[in-house]
């Protein structure tokens, strides 16, 4: 079976762990996130007739004084960059993370996830801010870890990008 390592990145509180929990049944406790800064799960995704074993590294949220550990991202075949749709400042964090990933390990497949789409009343992202992300040329989905909207679809899409680069 083909195995791929993917990472879920983004600012603190954007919903990375909830998105992972929506997609997989976690074997390990979330305490690993607070202690080691990473929690690893797996899920087998089937694309056409190919089964891919995704090793999903849920990496701690980036904060001002706690940058994402590059060594965790090294060796990843692809990443999700998660943005909180109700906090426009998380876009800036996403920019920072993505620039660092490009600098440290080069350009790899990425999907932007505009999370918390269920909170439409508190939506804080405008067209201009989104336009700035388009320079990377990466796909973008609105997701909701609460309702499950587009979660499976996003993982399927990233897996397709990994096996058909």
């Amino acid at each position: 079976m083909i195995q791929k390592k993917i990472c879920i990145l983004g600012a603190a509180g954007v919903g990375k762990t909830s998105l992972t929990a929506q997609f997989v049944y976690s074997k390990f406790s979330e305490k690993y996130l607070s202690t080691m800064g990473v929690k690893i799960d797996k899920k087998v995704v089937k694309i056409d007739n190919t089964s891919v074993n995704l090793m999903i590294w849920d990496i701690h949220g980036e904060e001002k004084y706690k940058k994402i550990t590059s060594s965790y991202v090294r060796g990843s075949a692809g990443i999700f960059t998660v943005i909180d749709g109700t906090r426009s400042e998380t876009i800036q964090t996403a920019h920072g993370i993505l620039e660092r990933v490009h600098s440290d390990i080069g350009k790899i497949p990425n999907i932007f996830l505009l999370n918390k789409s269920d909170l439409s009343d508190a939506w804080d992202i405008n067209e201009q801010a989104l336009a700035a992300l388009k320079k990377y040329g990466d796909p973008m989905y609105t997701t909701s870890a609460k309702t499950g909207e587009h979660v499976d679809l996003s993982f399927q899409q990233l897996t397709k990008m990994l096996i058909n680069p």
Partner: protein, 811 residues
């Protein structure tokens, strides 16, 4: 001429060259041929191939590794074509190898049996077995844990960069389903430690330990090898791990360099990794001294002799105690012992026993002898000793205390006072008792029976039942309270009655009469019956007329009821209300309701109906009060229509009517306003006319406002862009606005904006786009507000309506 000279010169040089370099030229030609001719190459290599292979094999094993795929392929082809030659070639090797394997297996089995016997019957083995029972673990696991030096239980081959698992081997693979996650976590832990302590790039974790479990980690350039061991592995295991990594790095160099997540190529690494799955156990436990069993045997024999002596003495004491018990029974009146014997640890006593004699078990309980060892076989018999005959007679005849029993020969003598019926019974029963032939009652004076006396005193009628049980009298049945009171008083005159049980039901008590009333009248749940101390039956609550009538008749048949009061019964609310509706005939705009006998009317009705209802309502049955809250009905729509007919407002004016007042809002010319104010009084029902929301303006401004209202700006797609057609509409809007401003500097204009989009943030962008577009046309103060929000945020098919209100900058 000169040409000939040159040719001669060249020939001379050639001759000179031949003389000086002929040998070298020949050797260069041979070397050139050697380099260019492939056949000669093979011949040359064939000369040194054997030596070359020998030399390289001595230096390292890389030649063997390099040749492995080719040799494997060659063997495969050979076997596929004809397996016989290879089979013949291998036979001398395979025969002894198979025999050796079988011998080894048998030896291993014998050793295993030896170990099992030793572990099962040695002191240590018994201790381990006890540990297994007390901890709930299998015996084999306890043995393993006590004899294990170390054991490799799992092997992880991990791709260094990605942390992905290339190969996993375990002693029991079914226990380790998530090896790939463990592999990733091991990598993450290494990264974490590495980052936390900023160690050098080439350094990594070498081992992790938890209890007796240890993870040994060795790093290669592209792979990480992790061994999960139990116990204390030797240092040499690390060398083996390093050698395995080197082999894998070399053998799978290309696959590792081009690794893209497909682990298929690494399946065969099992051959490299399996040798690491080793275990090492402690050497056999040292044998104990041969003297120990002899000493143990001697101690056991001594203990057995001591136990036999002690047991013999104990048995002798017990037998003596049993014999003493048998003697005690033999001395007891009414008990005859015929045989006493011991058999199979039990003591059997056989004989006869009068049932009135002392219980042998009670006698046994006074000794320390165990009842379980006694087997008693005492057949019943009747003892004819005088004390037993008298005891038996007293037991059967149950004489009153005033009678004395005595025996004279076989005659039973009775003396004293006794009721006649008892004397008669004694005469019948006594001759049947063993040892008594007849009864002498000459000394007995007869007296009337107790029941006869009770009947004489109480004089009960047939509805009373009397039960006499010893000195307890029980009366039951039905009686009047007067008879019951008298009976209770009279019973005290009979001293033989010690206890009196009164179960009489008093038929003239209020409770009884009330029960009878319930049975006879069967009232509905809404009716409550009660009875006064004067035996007056009162009915309260709600009931139908039929039940009320029937109750009046039935109550007459109930005895002891002095009077019946049903004045507090009322009819049900719904019947009263229905009757009220039928009588008053209210309009649909009137609502009637009934509560606590008060009829409430609300809504609107004509004054005539209100007056008639006030007169009729209180005369209806079940209605005590009429609360008429009905308002006088005014047809506001008709009044508004009449006002519009009379005043003829322009389309920019909206008229409304409420509570006698007419309201005008919008825009109108001064001429129309004056005319309307003069004429509103001519409309019936209108007593006021309010024009505060009416703006006095010109005909021209009103027309411009109409044009503005007719403009609808529609965004048909989800992109927040202002299309040329919308720009045109906004430009026209701005132009009309400018015109309106010249006429009315403080004008407020309204137009409609339609959206067909989904997410609110996109809507926000559109509003900003319109604002921006308006600004480009010089309209700097604007505001947009939602006037109708029909869309669900998840349903893009819906449309959202907004109003665009444009105001002036001027104060």
């Amino acid at each position: 001429m000169s040409n000939n000279t040159s040719q001669q010169h060249e020939a001379a040089m050639q001759a000179l060259r031949r003389l000086l370099f002929e040998q070298e030229t020949t050797r260069i030609d041979r070397l050139e041929e050697l380099l260019n001719n492939q056949e000669l190459h093979a011949q040359e290599i064939a000369k040194i191939l054997a030596e070359a292979v020998q030399i390289r094999s001595h230096s390292d094993n890389k030649l063997g590794q390099a040749l492995t795929p080719a040799v494997e392929e060659a063997l495969k082809n050979s076997i596929a074509r004809n397996p016989q030659p290879l089979s013949d070639a291998l036979f001398p090797v395979m025969g002894p190898a198979i025999r050796k394997a079988i011998q080894s297996s048998i030896a291993s089995m014998l050793q295993s049996m030896n170990q099992t016997l030793e572990h099962s019957f040695s002191a240590q083995g018994l201790r381990w077995r006890w540990d297994a029972i007390s901890t709930g673990k299998p015996f084999a696991e306890i043995v393993l844990l006590n004899t294990l030096n170390y054991r490799v239980e799992q092997i992880f081959l991990i791709h260094k960069e990605t942390g992905l698992l290339l190969k996993h081997i375990a002693l029991d693979p079914s226990h380790y389903e998530d090896a790939d996650i463990v592999s990733s976590m091991l990598t993450a832990v290494q990264d974490f430690i590495h980052d936390s302590f900023s160690s050098s790039e080439n350094q990594g974790i070498e081992s992790l330990r938890m209890g007796d479990l240890q993870v040994l980690i060795e790093q290669g350039p592209d792979v990480v090898l992790a061994l999960v061991c139990r116990g204390n592995p030797p240092l040499s295991l690390r060398e083996t791990m390093q050698a395995t990594i080197e082999d894998i790095q070399h053998e799978f160099h290309e696959s590792l360099q081009n690794f893209d997540g497909d682990t298929q190529a690494f399946e065969v690494t099992e051959l490299n990794l399996s040798p690491l799955l080793v275990a090492d156990y402690q050497a056999k436990i040292k044998k104990s001294s041969p003297l120990k069993p002899l000493m143990l045997l001697g101690a056991m024999i001594t203990a057995i002799i001591a136990w036999v002596v002690w047991d013999y003495k104990q048995q002798a004491d017990i037998v003596a105690q049993w014999q003493s018990y048998v003697q005690q029974l033999s001395d007891e009146p009414g008990i005859v012992i015929t045989q006493f014997q011991q058999h199979s640890g039990k003591y059997m006593i056989t004989g006869l026993r009068d049932p009135l004699s002392h219980d042998p078990i009670r006698i046994l309980e006074k000794t320390s002898l165990p009842q379980a060892q006694l087997k008693l076989d005492l057949q019943p018999y009747l003892s004819l000793e005088p004390p037993f005959i008298l005891k038996r007679a007293a037991h059967i005849l149950n004489p009153p205390q005033s009678i004395l029993l005595s025996l004279q020969g076989e005659a039973l003598l009775l003396s004293g006072n006794a009721p006649k019926d008892w004397v008669n019974k004694a005469l019948e029963k006594a001759p049947l008792i063993a040892g008594i032939s007849h009864v002498d009652t000459s000394n007995v004076s007869a007296e009337p029976s107790l029941l006869e006396r009770i009947l004489a005193v109480l004089k009960p009628d047939s509805s009373i039942q009397i039960k006499l049980d010893g000195d307890t009298l029980t009366l039951s049945g039905e009686s009047s309270s007067a008879w019951e009171k008298q009976a209770q008083k009279n019973i005290h005159s009979i001293p033989q009655i010690k206890q009196y049980q009164n179960n009489i039901t008093l038929i003239d008590s209020p409770d009884y009469v009330l029960k009878q009333a319930h049975k006879a009248l069967r009232p509905p749940k809404s009716i409550r019956l009660r009875i006064t101390s004067n035996m007056e039956l009162i009915a309260q609550g709600i009931a139908t007329e039929t039940w009320i009538k029937q109750a009046k008749q039935k109550v007459k048949s109930i005895t002891y009821i002095s009077a019946y009061d049903d004045k507090s019964i009322s009819l049900p609310d719904d019947i009263i209300l229905q009757r009220a509706i039928e009588a008053l005939q209210p309009a649909e705009t009137v609502q009637l309701s009934l509560s606590n006998n008060t009829l409430l009317a609300t809504g609107e009705a004509k004054q005539g109906w209100i007056d008639a209802a006030n007169n009729q309502a209180i005369q209806l049955e079940g209605i005590d009060r009429f609360d008429n809250q009905v308002a006088t009905w005014i047809d506001e729509a008709a009044i508004l229509a009449a006002a519009i007919q009379r005043l003829q407002p322009p389309s920019s004016v909206r008229l409304s009517f409420s509570n006698g007042a007419l309201f005008a809002a919008g825009f109108a010319t001064g001429a129309w306003i004056s005319q309307a104010q003069a004429q509103f009084g001519l409309v019936d029902g209108v007593h006021s006319f309010y024009t505060s929301k009416l703006k006095n303006t010109t005909e021209e401004w009103i027309n411009i406002q109409k044009d503005i209202n007719s403009i609808s700006i529609t965004f048909p797609n989800t992109i927040a862009k202002v299309s040329p057609s919308i720009q045109e509409s906004i430009a026209l809007l701005a132009s009309l606005f400018e015109q309106a401003q010249t006429i009315e500097s403080n004008s407020q204009l309204l137009t409609k904006v339609l959206y067909s989009n989904t997410a609110s943030f996109i809507t926000s962008l559109r509003l900003k786009a319109i604002q921006k577009e308006l600004t480009t046309h010089g309209i700097t103060k604007q505001k947009l507000k939602v006037i109708s929000h029909k869309a669900d945020t998840h349903d893009i098919s819906q449309v959202i309506h907004f109003a665009l209100e444009v105001g002036s900058n001027k104060p």
